[in-house]
């Protein structure tokens, strides 16, 4: 079955190491970033944009499987190349997909993959789609100021393409989704006349949100799905950073071997973190395994689901 859930990732050319960041800013500690954030490097765009990365991921997917009969394209991004038109429409053109296809963008960050999965599964279950191409692509680094070393240490750019068939969609769910609109300023891109667009994040605020809400959602999700915590074989959380993830692990008492951590080389790639981690574990034989996914962050927004492969 797991052969039918295909995920491919794609990254920009430039790999920015902690050492390079430390050379740029002597106050920045490469050791701290490695030890506490769990990040040693991250890919960052130079002359690429989110469409280039998305196309790269889709082309990698196309090497494995035809995209000719895709009938729904969902593009998750918060760093579009243009405010309009939709990135999904431009990608549709670049991939030369058939005209009889629904294409839409989803403006969500770290929870975006889960929300997009929920839409994809709903379309399939409603008989409105048979094969869904779900693309995530974010280039947050274009919003982060050069002297904002804290956020430059955390975020990396990247894209993924997931092909979801009707067979696999029936094995995904239930979903739990949530929003805390009062936290809208905790991660935000603002603009002013001096800096243009610039990114800011209330790190401790996001951390507290994650530590409170992720364990609650996981417990409710497990209860709703009818499986026990012990029956979950892998937990794939949006990482934020390793310190947050380790605290969530501690609260939920998740054994090391069940927690999938995949940010050391690539950093926090926003909407792509979960599918990038999934791409890695799909290299194993996952037949009969339960995989719990949970994303949280900008919005504030949270979502979780369980895959049974």
């Amino acid at each position: 079955m797991n052969g039918e859930l295909l995920i491919r990732s794609y990254f920009p050319k430039h790999l920015l190491s902690n050492e390079e960041l430390q050379r740029q800013c002597p106050d920045f500690s490469a050791d701290y970033a490695s030890r506490k954030l769990g990040i040693v490097s991250r890919y960052t765009i130079t002359d690429e944009d989110c469409l280039d990365l998305a196309l790269g991921a889709c082309e990698r997917l196309r090497e494995q499987v035809s995209l000719d009969d895709v009938d729904l394209l969902i593009f998750v991004t918060q760093s579009p190349v243009y405010p309009l038109p939709s990135m999904s429409c431009i990608l549709h053109g670049r991939l030369q997909l058939k005209p009889s296809i629904a294409a839409m963008d989803l403006n969500l960050g770290c929870s975006g993959y889960i929300y997009a999965l929920s839409i994809a599964v709903s379309y399939v279950k409603a008989g409105m789609a048979n094969k869904v191409l779900l693309v995530t692509s974010d280039t947050y680094t274009k919003y982060i100021k050069a002297d904002d070393y804290n956020n430059r240490a955390i975020f990396g750019d990247g894209a993924t393409a997931t092909l979801l068939t009707s067979e696999i969609a029936t094995n995904i769910g239930p979903f739990l989704l949530g929003t805390d609109g009062e936290g809208w300023e905790k991660i935000i891109v603002r603009s002013n006349s001096d800096d243009g667009l610039f990114f800011s994040m209330d790190g401790p605020g996001i951390m507290i949100y994650a530590l409170k809400e992720v364990p609650k959602l996981v417990k409710k999700l497990v209860e709703k799905s009818g499986v026990s915590m012990d029956e979950i074989d892998y937990f794939v959380f949006h990482p934020g950073n390793e310190y947050i993830l380790k605290n969530i692990q501690r609260i939920l008492k998740i054994p090391d071997e069940k927690l999938v951590i995949n940010l050391r080389k690539i950093g926090n790639t926003v909407s792509s973190t979960i599918p990038i981690a999934m791409e890695r574990i799909l290299q194993n034989d996952l037949r009969g395994k339960n995989i719990l996914l949970c994303g949280y962050g900008v919005g504030l927004s949270i979502g979780g689901t369980i895959l049974r492969l």
Binding site: P204, G205, M207, K212, Y243
Partner: protein, 99 residues
Amino acid sequence: MLKTIVDEILKGAIEDLNMQIKDKVEYSDDLILNGDGCKIDSMDRGVIIFYIETEIEQRFNHSISLLADEQFRESDDKNPLRTVGSLKEWLNHRLEELN
């Protein structure tokens, strides 16, 4: 009684933090949590605040959000999160109001 419970909660928060950091910190009213001379970082403060808010919810059935309070955005000396002592004072006052 309230003061003892608040002290217990803060002590627990620092013990919880110490389980996760390499350079341990010693619990006292003078321990600096924010600003000049502080030896913990913003994520450590996140762990401390999460612990405190969770304990208050469990013990007093009050849901509070420290960072939502404007005083926590004040500069060093006016910020209740400056030291364990100032945080203790703020919590005692806030819980007296709520109870």
